[in-house]
Symmetry: C2
Subunit: 501 residues, 2 copies
């Protein structure tokens, strides 16, 4: 048998070869969203498919598998970072091996048809034709869960792809605490006067918005030496290595808040990617630990920092320098209150920090019901509409604004939605502990000194990559696991102020 | 043996797989020049090297080689396009096989060191340390020529990589006709009054330059549905398929001519790429035939069209709309004359349409002298300086502005320079025949109707890819091979007007 060190080096080389292809694919996809001319679509699709083929070949090569399995034998000889890389790679390999070629082909074909059907159904504002496709996606998701294997609930197995080792029990328990809190809050503020929105109903020239977005991203710590900000129809963050991280935003003259707080959100994602250890390129210890933790980073900067009164006060000179006419006569306090309005919306992505999570609960509950066969595929739209009425007090005028609004189910992502709520909860919890650890954090935000907070996130989260899962990270930082009380406390404190409760 | 058709399809599939990788590499290089943040350089280099490894593996795989050699046996069963694809692929394979791994490693290492040494020598304005490296490059170039094989001159073999089947004899004969013509013209105008340059010595805001460049590229026929214009320090054209062609320009407030005529130049390259047959993706019949023909397309649009009085008259309303203050009181005629000034310059890339070719002659003559061992490596700078004095009447103040000005020799491109002059000569020759074939071409240019000219180039050059080499194309279009008389006629006619000869 070969020496463990030599084997480990061989493993790293193979893994980094895979990364070269995968990050190249990320570049092709970034270019496709951001700069590719229309005509390029057809051949780009074939080039991507060709590269994806190589990526698959490398990830399933017998040489890679043998190297990895041999390393397992001498697992105890390695340090913790090396162990993370071996263990996480073994886990991925094991999961991939449970999905044979036949399953992958069936799954890909099903979600491809399901996606097409969803696009059409949304255009036609009618769930009817999409229903059977969703049924097939659910059946295949159950099969996927069976193949992966699980102890308690098939949802555990599905969620593991997005939020490793998170349990359905934890999500259930957290959401059942959150639900009465949020519905109660929404009821309370229903009769309160709403903050003035007039200053947002003005024209904000897009070129100025973009310059301001760049300024603000830079100021909070997104490193433009190791990244870029561009425009795309759907904002996203991607990374080709820790020193080349690309974020995007979109510009709308009538909706300046979207570009600015969208940029803060993507900057949070981007700073996580930039903070991953560069010397672990292509290895699990150099990758983000979960979608929930990723989302905690974006939401912390967008909401806990970006939508605070101190932040608005800090950026007020910049805002009014770019938009003197639009903001004439307004105050940071007005802006803060208007920005944080609570207003139930039919659409998840248009929702505020409070009602957003009721949208997630509806999706989580429905996913569980589907997997547990508690509801038939035909009954789903009625169930959706009933829940929207119960939780948000709204009537759904049609499926396009109801059950068909999200792409996720159509392309087979079951178990994904809870990561959004986890993001907000972890953000509040981490922020609360950052506040304990950093002297006068609120004042630092007011003064535009974001380095201590970024440093806190860097040293407690970013540098670890996948060394700790989300609950382990949370325990290390807070001495306890996920606890919605921090989010509730954050929301109560913020909205008492805004709505004079 | 397998059926020829099946074999051909297999060959196409293998070739297009190679193309997927090679065009992906082109995207990575484009991004590197145009958008990549500084920090991304290190890992991008490794990703490029990884992909280049796959490209090499595919191009040298035994499956590909066997398929191609089997096709050779049934060559006569195929149509002309298929024969082009087989024949050109066989030629590339044959050439590659003459270069064994040892040679490739030695060559790459030598040019890598030579390039580093050139960068340093240029900074230090001293040839001394670069000389020995250049000597090694020349020795390896001789070896490359031996390995490729040739009938008449090693230079034929080297030039073949850039201008297939062109001969040293042809270049010699063409240049020896051109040299007295050009030196004579330069002597004649030396005592004539120079056109007024004052309108170019103004500030032209770069944002307006960029918008004008886009307008003009679009107007002459560069298709923005199938391409883009971006900025980069060194303007270039690249392509990821015929429907995704990227051109770049650079902006300088003090030098508006550079961005505008640079854009016309790259648009010419870009329109050639866009005009290649899309259904021959990844195959020789879908690729440009030579660098000389590529350069003929760029120079035709930049010079024969773009620097004509009719073109200036046509774009005058656009020019004056963007730059009303700068051009107040000027006329299209003044602009035309100022733009076309002849002024010997030490630097090739700063040179005008006339003196430029004397720079090429110097390089061509020196390359021949080096390959034929007629000059020692140490004597080269003195020889360079002497030729600059003889041909251009200039004194070289230092090697940086002399023999060290171009990158080409340092990275082993010997036999490349003549393609620039071929570009101008073919451009003039093709343009003369376009003028015969298109009714009132000059008036079409004046009226901004560029479609007939582009159509002429599309149907006579672009659609053929590598089906014909440069001389075959020239014979098909003009009924004769390369003939410098057309260029001389173009230059005489243009400059008689400008310098009142």
């Amino acid at each position: 048998m070969e020496a463990p060190l030599h084997l480990y080096q061989q493993f790293v080389a193979l893994k980094q070869e895979q990364a070269d292809i995968n990050y190249t694919l990320a570049l092709m996809q970034w270019d496709q969203e951001v700069y590719m001319p229309k005509g390029g679509a057809e051949m780009r699709a074939r080039q991507i498919s060709s590269l994806a083929g190589y990526s698959h070949e490398l990830a399933t090569s017998s040489k890679y598998e043998e190297t990895l399995l041999a390393l397992q034998e001498s697992f105890k000889d390695f340090n913790t970072v090396e162990q993370t890389n071996i263990q996480e790679s073994l886990k991925t390999l094991r999961k991939n091996k449970t999905l044979d070629k036949d399953f992958v082909v069936r799954f890909n074909q099903t979600v491809s048809e399901s996606y097409q059907s969803w696009v059409k159904a949304r255009e036609e504002n009618s769930y009817t034709h999409f229903g059977p496709h969703l049924g097939q996606v659910i059946e295949l998701s159950k099969e996927r869960a069976q193949r992966y294997g699980y102890t308690h609930h098939p949802y555990d197995a599905l969620m593991d792809d997005y939020e490793p080792e998170m349990t359905t029990e934890t999500i259930k328990s957290v959401l059942s605490s959150l639900k009465p809190f949020l519905t109660d809050l929404i009821r309370k503020i229903r009769d309160q006067p709403q903050p003035d929105q007039s200053l947002f109903h003005k024209k904000y020239p897009v070129a100025d918005q973009f310059r301001l977005c760049s300024d603000l991203a830079k100021e909070i710590g997104f490193n433009f030496n190791d990244g870029r900000l561009d425009l795309s129809p759907h904002p996203f963050t991607t990374s080709f290595n820790a020193q080349d991280v690309r974020i995007t935003t979109r510009l709308n003259e009538d909706l300046m808040t979207e570009s600015i707080w969208g940029t803060l959100h993507e900057s949070g994602h981007g700073m996580y990617e930039q903070g991953l250890p560069a010397n672990q390129y292509g290895l699990p210890a150099g990758e983000a630990t979960s979608l929930g933790i990723h989302e905690s980073q974006s939401r912390l900067w967008e909401n806990n920092v970006g939508k605070s009164l101190s932040y608005i006060k800090h950026i007020w000179p910049q805002l009014t320098a770019y938009f003197p006419a639009q903001l004439a006569g307004s105050t940071p306090d007005q802006f803060f209150k208007g920005l944080n309005i609570i207003h139930p919306d039919l659409i998840r992505i248009n929702s505020d920090e409070v009602t957003y999570h009721l949208h997630i609960m509806i999706r989580f509950e429905m996913e569980l019901a589907m997997l547990e066969d508690q509801v038939s595929i035909n009954e789903l739209p009625a169930l959706w509409n009933q829940k929207i009425k119960d939780y948000l007090g709204l009537d759904v005028p049609g499926d396009a604004q109801g059950i068909l609004q999200d792409i996720h189910w159509s392309h087979g992502s079951i178990g994904y939605f809870p990561t959004y709520t986890l993001g907000s909860l972890y953000a509040a919890q981490f922020f609360a502990f950052a506040d304990k650890s950093i002297q006068n954090l609120d004042n630092q935000i007011l003064e535009g000194n974001y380095a201590p907070l970024l440093q806190f996130l860097r040293t407690n989260i970013h540098i670890y990559g996948k060394q700790f899962n989300s609950e382990e990270l949370c325990n290390r930082i807070c001495g306890e696991g996920l606890n919605p009380a921090y989010f509730e406390q954050y929301i109560t404190s913020k909205y008492s102020q805004i709505y004079q409760l």
